[in-house]
């Protein structure tokens, strides 16, 4: 196959990837979009084989590892529970990053195969491109590993900070640039290996100080990085499918990080520098026990909901932890049978990754046209009778609207307090991730239901009969 013809096919697969993302503008078209993506991938892989046209030597090995990887990937995709989606995505990001590093290494060791020149005499532009691809890939890899460990609970989700952290990162960042400069001057292999090791290190140190609830930003950011790494390799290989895809994924991740940061009213740098919520905890613990709290049980909750005409459910990360989505759907079904209008309100940063709550609700067979985003539903709280807050906390705190001193001031919040009554399922009165006491607990119209999210919901179901 001629180089021009394969370039055209790569372009086609790039366009199919654009259509795959375009399909996600509505759930109706999304499934077809995904098929476009698969088709694009098949075209890209087939064309690569045909363009090389070398089926004699290592073809069989290539096929074996391809099938082996495919089997493992398929197995994971079918087995993974939906609640584990954030760590799965983080894990997948790390694989893309590492694959980018490996491709860069092969290109560096054997540039002839890629038409980039000869060992120790690689074209300057290619060398710059591959070292950028390798560096970003390595950062993506080690950063995603840390994100994975934190999301999986293997590593503590609380921010880990130490003195001089930012200076070390800055130093590592500068040394990456210096190493690329010397690598280009000398073409020496040792600079290349050092570059990769330092990038691995930087990835680790970048993500370690960032706490659990900031993970939506981190995952989106690593998503973006994996795209830029792919684009860097795409420039090296002069492959338009890779360049297009890298740019798409890079900007997609960047937009998601932006949306997530806006959902917390924090700047990107504030999140990346990390340590949020680590210092404020002591402050808020002081005056906690003085204020009176109304506590109720499942019977009270069921009574309130039975007599309501509209109920809004506010799910959060706690729902995911307790795996309460199925019980929740059952409860809602019961309510709907009694003629009560029920909708779901999702805050942009609810959960551990963008759209986390939506997937869990979809898994529990909640129709997506009953699930609303913050802007769509926020005005409805004033007209609703009951808000059922299950596993959410900071995103409902009215203090974000009133107290400029508060660390979460200015963050968009769900106007839960405007409901006639608020049912707040929570295990204790402890403050949320931001370390801020939730004023909502002490309101007259709030009834605290101290229990595990799933247990409480199941008990309410019993009491609804």
């Amino acid at each position: 196959m001629s180089a021009n013809l394969s370039a055209i096919f790569y372009l086609i697969s790039g366009i199919l990837f654009i259509l795959a993302l375009r399909g996600l503008s509505s759930p109706e078209t999304s499934r077809r979009g995904n098929l476009f993506g698969i088709l694009g991938m098949i075209i890209a892989i087939t064309v690569t084989f045909l363009a090389i046209g070398n089926f004699s030597n290592s073809f069989i090995y290539v096929l074996i590892v391809l099938v082996l990887g495919g089997l493992i990937g398929s197995f994971i995709a079918y087995k993974i529970p939906m609640t584990a989606m954030p760590e799965l995505v983080a894990g997948f990001h790390s694989l893309v990053g590492l694959a980018a590093v490996f491709v860069a290494i092969s290109a560096f060791l054997n540039p002839e195969a890629f038409n980039l020149g000869y060992p120790r005499d690689i074209k300057l532009s290619s060398l710059i491109e591959m070292s950028i691809g390798a560096a970003i890939g390595a950062i993506t890899f080690s950063g995603s590993i840390i994100a994975f460990l934190k999301l999986r609970g293997i590593m503590s989700g609380s921010p880990i900070t130490f003195k001089g952290q930012h200076y070390i990162n800055l130093l590592l960042g500068i040394s990456i640039i210096v190493l690329i400069f010397y690598l280009c001057n000398t073409q020496s292999e040792s600079f290349f290996w050092n570059l990769i090791i330092i990038s691995f290190l930087l990835g680790l140190l970048l993500i370690i100080p960032i706490g659990g609830a900031d993970m939506p930003v981190v995952i989106s950011m690593l998503n973006s990085y994996s795209g830029w790494a792919a684009a860097g390799i795409g420039f090296t290989l002069e492959n338009s499918a890779l360049i297009i895809t890298g740019a798409l994924v890079g900007s997609s991740g960047a937009i998601l990080s932006y949306i997530m940061c806006k959902g917390m009213n924090r700047s990107f740098f504030n999140v990346i520098l990390g340590g949020f919520g680590a210092s404020d905890e002591k402050l808020s613990n002081k005056d906690k026990d003085q204020k009176p709290v109304k506590a109720g049980n499942a019977e009270d909750a069921a009574f309130l909901m039975k007599n309501a005409s509209s109920v809004i459910i506010v799910p959060g990360y706690g729902m995911a932890v307790a795996q309460a989505q199925h019980a929740l759907r059952e409860m809602v079904d019961k309510l709907k049978k009694n003629g009560i209008k029920v909708s779901y309100a999702i805050h942009p940063v609810a959960g551990r990754m963008p759209g986390h709550m939506n997937v869990l609700l979809a898994e529990a067979n909640v129709p997506y046209d009953e699930v609303f985003e913050l802007e769509e539903i926020n005005n409805d709280f004033a007209n609703a009778d009951v808000a059922y807050v299950i596993g959410a906390n900071d995103v409902t705190n009215p203090i974000a609207k009133t107290d400029p001193q508060s660390p979460i001031y200015g963050m968009p919040v769900l106007d839960v307090e405007k409901c006639k009554s608020v049912l707040f399922v929570k295990r204790s009165l402890s403050p949320g991730y931001a370390g801020v006491d939730n004023e909502l607990f002490y309101r007259d119209n709030t009834l605290m239901l101290f229990s595990d999210a799933k247990k409480m919901t199941e008990e309410i179901i019993k009491n609804l009969d």
Binding site: L24, H93, T245
Partner: protein, 102 residues
């Protein structure tokens, strides 16, 4: 004077960023998780580089370091491609509308 081919690639890159920008803003927020998993799958098109590396060389050099890294990269990217697309499909199957006769 001739234009360096790099400039053309750069043009593709910059224009694709703009396409990505507009396409991703039109993605409905409820599908942000499938968006992440599908971008993950498509970024594994990096496998084309891995295949080139894996297929290079003659019979004696199948297990050169460069080829080995190629094989490893194919393996990782394949996990991602199959895993990413399939898990996206599995998620998207769950997004259903309200049944009419309710």
């Amino acid at each position: 004077m001739e234009i360096d081919p790099f400039i053309f690639r750069l043009s593709i890159f910059i224009l694709s960023i703009f396409i990505g920008y507009y396409v991703v803003w039109s993605v409905t927020p409820s599908l942000h998780t499938p968006l992440m998993s599908v971008t993950n799958a498509i970024s594994s098109v990096i496998i084309v580089g891995a295949i080139i590396a894996g297929l290079s060389g003659d019979t004696q050099s199948i297990f050169n370091t460069s080829n080995i890294f190629g094989f490893l990269a194919i393996f990782l990217a394949a996990i991602n491609i199959f895993g990413g697309f399939l898990v996206t499909q599995r998620m998207l199957q769950m997004y259903r509308k309200k049944k009419k006769n309710k």
